[in-house]
Subunit: 490 residues, 2 copies
């Protein structure tokens, strides 16, 4: 471990963000949530009364009350006057989960950009129901509080820092990020951190540092379309590894491919994978890391949804097992705190210096005022409080969208139910053409992200990604109804 | 001309920035400044009295007073009590201007990055006299006023804009930039504008859009080292075109090279070229554009010093003559208003859409709050007033550095005297090794930029670039004295 870990910045700990260890009521709420998700407690079913639960679990009635209040916030149960608490209708799973339909393919040249741009270009009309959107609603973010932090951050910034922080990153921001890693159990040397224009720049720089044109890169399938665009731009070839909707990436296929092909890098989202929402278990993350280590293949870990887990247990990234600097962990504040500020970072492992230099040669630095604002917010803004509110909102919105899918979509539709984030992956009957659906839905004022933009080999033609990242309104309900109507025409 | 020019945004003109047409006293000051620069008025010489000038030029005494006050501010003349106004000692040119020493070379692979990084890395000690710095002193910028604009800009920004402006650029900022082009006589369709993370990102994206690895790119020699790094990174080969210290790029050599080599792009600074400070005349810019047009070769016009001209006449970029969309005009606010904010732009001509898409695939967008702050500042902050103050400060600092060079450097030193910006290019006697000078000077607490970092073929070994971008202090004077002492050891 290099000498200069955050531990040694002794002054830093005074400014540590407030940490919320998991409370008893949160733990209890998670237990009930698991029972609901597993179907042990069915929709419409009554859950144990406060008195019963208190006696049975040996916890105080007020703890049970707090837990039930939380579950209501999370959209899983509802209180009925004088009758008690009931599992909400839409908390059930009626629709099945998608199958893993991907057939392993040969390494492929990527040509998806044109399609992606035509889809993204269509999302700009703000009267459209934004199921195709890549960002959650900006209303879910503490933008006013961030403005206060901007004023404070700018006041604390010396003129010299405005220039000097371009090279090194804003010092307080780097410390706050390193601290959050530390609280998650990861001792990160400060030199490993490179502040970037969102995670997107970090991923781009990292991939350039570890590949040459023509190289093979293992990606997920379905994959985040932007990763496909980057491969296309850098003239890299994609080796698609199937992703199971719950278990995540297929490690057996990956092992076989690493064995037989000269793969130069992996680009994976081990947690709340976009678009399918799967997360690898901790054990499977460890297995994944051992594979990387065995083959000495670097991995870009795109972890932008790290903070958007439902429940109370933060995920552990693959980076946590990285004892050789092989994992390039990329994340940002764009999806959980400050969209448009364009502040992300890379924990670059053994590639950190190369990534930092490449950044200095291309964009030099993200905006220093934006970094200062976020640094101040992390210290004083109540980040963890905001995150809990955001997670509850997203979980409730997921429930609403699942319920609507159940009401309006064909019965043989298959749909994910991810444990976080704001995307559902929907697999329609084979005859549905999602590109046609995309176009007609847009004519009816509803956007969506069609399956083929998530594949280097144009698979998933009958699939779509739907976002529940916006507060649920009657308009959202009508949007789902419209989709259902259009689906019946296929 | 595409339909959607700024002219048609009729509402915009209400918010037009204050324009300062050149006043009579400014014009008169420029006339006197020209006489001083040409040596017609020598150092120590008395300039016409207010009464004489007023009578001779048919202008009021108060206009003459204003002009002389301005020339004092610009560091060109000084008032002596009861004696009148005199040309300052350091306004003379004692040292000759550098020769054009470059021999045209064969197209070259570029390998300069390591050297550049070792030089840049050495600049980070703030006790060092910053003659090697690439940025002017942040004290010269209106950072407090910008903070006010940040608060106002954020208040005016709707949550929806924070996300939407990532794709299109902040609307008001785009309008303000287009307006400044318009005031300079360039009708720019809004679709041509791409907001970037400083000019550096714009130049990187543009070069990627118009070249493939292995292609030939014409650059200046000496060249801005970052352009060499970009060529190296993109595996492009450099065709070096010599730059004359006053006349700018050698158009005859360029014409011959365009004729005989398959050059795919040019990357030039037609105005206040870094490091040599030369500017092409308007006529020569026209000739340059005709060459580009004849060969249908796109040109990246790096124009980051556009606003740092001395005197009162703004320069006209090559872009002004571009009737085919061949010129990709790149600039930013980093060197003239807001370092660290990382807001620049590209007027991309026929390549605008490709550049915009490439940006969406790599960094998505510069910080939206930083864009909003600058948009507000351009409307309400007094940009032109700030620029005039900045220009006067830089011109006076140039005078101080030239005078010190004259005092401390060997007599056969040659030095530029650019009409703007904040760099001098110094050609020492042949035996001086600027890399050794760089290292020993650094040991003595003085930084500089050694010649070889400005060449793809490691030329200019006896040259250095010195920055006068920081306010002149006794420390600066000692720095020059130190350099003089070290030079005498060669």
């Amino acid at each position: 471990m290099p000498a200069n870990t955050v531990m040694e910045h002794s002054g830093v700990l005074l400014n540590a963000p407030t940490v919320y260890p998991m409370k008893r009521y949160e733990q209890f709420a998670d237990e009930i949530a698991t029972l609901i998700r597993q179907g042990v407690l069915g929709p419409g079913e009554r859950i144990p009364s406060v008195r019963q639960a208190s006696r049975h679990h040996g916890i105080s009635p007020s703890t049970v009350f707090q837990a039930y209040y939380l579950l209501e916030n999370r959209g899983l149960i509802t209180a009925r006057a004088r009758s008690g608490y009931f599992v909400r209708e839409h908390a059930r799973r009626l629709l099945d989960e998608p199958r893993v339909t991907l057939q392993p393919t040969d390494p492929a040249e990527v040509e998806v950009s044109e399609l992606v741009f035509s889809v993204l270009g269509s999302l700009q009309d703000d009267r459209t129901v934004p199921f195709g959107s890549a960002f959650p609603s900006p209303e879910l973010f503490p933008l006013s509080r961030l403005s206060i932090s901007m004023t404070r951050g700018l006041r604390a910034l010396s003129p010299q820092q405005v220039v000097a922080d371009m090279t090194t990153g804003h010092t307080d921001l780097c410390r706050q990020i390193a601290l959050r890693y530390m609280l998650g159990g990861i001792q990160l040397p400060m030199e490993e951190l490179v502040i970037t224009n969102g995670a997107m720049e970090g991923l781009n720089l990292a991939l350039q540092c570890v590949t040459e044109p023509g190289d093979l890169v293992a990606i997920e399938s379905p994959a985040f379309y932007a990763s496909l665009q980057v491969l296309e731009r850098l003239k890299l070839r994609a080796v698609e590894i199937p992703v199971h909707p719950r278990e995540g990436i297929d490690l057996e296929v990956l092992a076989e491919r690493l064995e037989t092909l000269p793969i130069k890098a992996c680009w994976f989202m081990s947690h709340l994978q976009n678009p399918i929402g799967a997360s690898l278990s901790k054990e499977r993350k460890q297995v994944l890391y051992q594979l990387l280590k065995q083959h000495q293949v670097p991995m870009l870990e795109d972890d932008v949804y790290a903070e958007l887990y439902f429940g109370s247990t933060p995920p552990v990234p693959v980076k946590a097992f990285d004892d050789e600097g092989l994992v390039i962990h990329c994340s940002s504040f764009s999806k959980c705190l400050a969209p448009g500020y364009r502040v992300g970072w890379v924990a670059g492992g053994r590639y950190a210096q190369a990534i930092s230099r490449l950044k200095l040669m291309t964009t030099i630095s993200p905006s220093v005022p934006a970094q200062a604002a976020i640094a101040d917010y992390l210290q004083h803004g109540g980040y963890d409080r905001h995150l809990r509110k955001l997670r509850h909102a997203l979980e409730a919105q997921q429930g609403s969208m699942l319920a609507a899918a159940d009401r309006y979509f064909p019965a043989n539709t298959r749909i994910t139910r991810p444990a976080g984030g704001y995307f559902l992956w929907v697999e329609f009957p084979e005859q549905v053409d999602s590109l046609r659906l995309f176009n007609t839905a847009l004519d009816h004022g509803v956007s969506l992200a069609p399956g083929p933009i998530f594949s280097a080999t144009q698979q998933f033609r009958h699939c779509v990604r739907l976002s529940y990242g916006h507060p649920w309104t009657p308009n959202s309900e009508r949007g789902m109804e419209t989709l259902g109507r259009l689906l019946s025409l296929f």
